[in-house]
Symmetry: C2
Subunit: 111 residues, 2 copies
């Protein structure tokens, strides 16, 4: 569906959201912890997480009063498949990917 791709690509078009996805690549996280490295309100991060969830890029599960965020890599497949058609890419270029990851990590976070 065209609409799915709309929402997925739109979700990926924001650097904060991509940084969140990169963080979740390492481990599941609570909303508060996701928000921690960013210089913006918790409410703003909460909105970003909603957008990522509606795009299917993450899922959120509430355990107790903590809502855990989990990467859902499947949702990216539709977008990935769509893109693959536009060129003969290196199937996976992990090296370049890692450089992107670094660039994506929230600034000012020393670790």
């Amino acid at each position: 569906m065209s609409d799915d791709l709309d929402i997925i690509f739109a979700a990926l078009a924001d650097p904060t959201r991509r940084a969140i996805l990169a963080m979740l690549l390492e481990d599941d996280m609570a909303v508060t912890d996701v928000a921690d490295p960013f210089e913006m309100s918790l409410a703003a991060i909460s909105k970003h997480l909603t957008i990522l969830t509606r795009a299917g890029l993450i899922s959120q599960e509430k355990r107790g009063r903590v809502k855990w965020c989990k990467l859902e890599p499947d949702a990216m497949r539709a977008a990935s498949v769509w893109m693959q058609g536009f060129g003969q890419f290196d199937p996976v270029n992990l090296d370049a990917f890692e450089r992107f990851l670094e660039a994506e990590l929230p600034k000012g976070d020393g670790a």
Copy 2:
């Protein structure tokens, strides 16, 4: 660079623009011809093409009074590489891709 991905993903987040890319996959086209199947003004399509150009997804070359639009698949590589890191996708699923292409073609275009 984070900024590049911003612009690329934002460009891909619009169904009209994805449809344009799909059209250009078949052949280079003049702006007027790109606009033809869409039910929106030429100016609107011109704006979309500018956005695609600034994202590096297409290039435009003026020959005479006709401006030719050409797909530039390389620009998608950065985005593709970024995405590949988020799962072990089928490297290329051409079958699913073709179904997407059909879904992406402008509606109401009988031909």
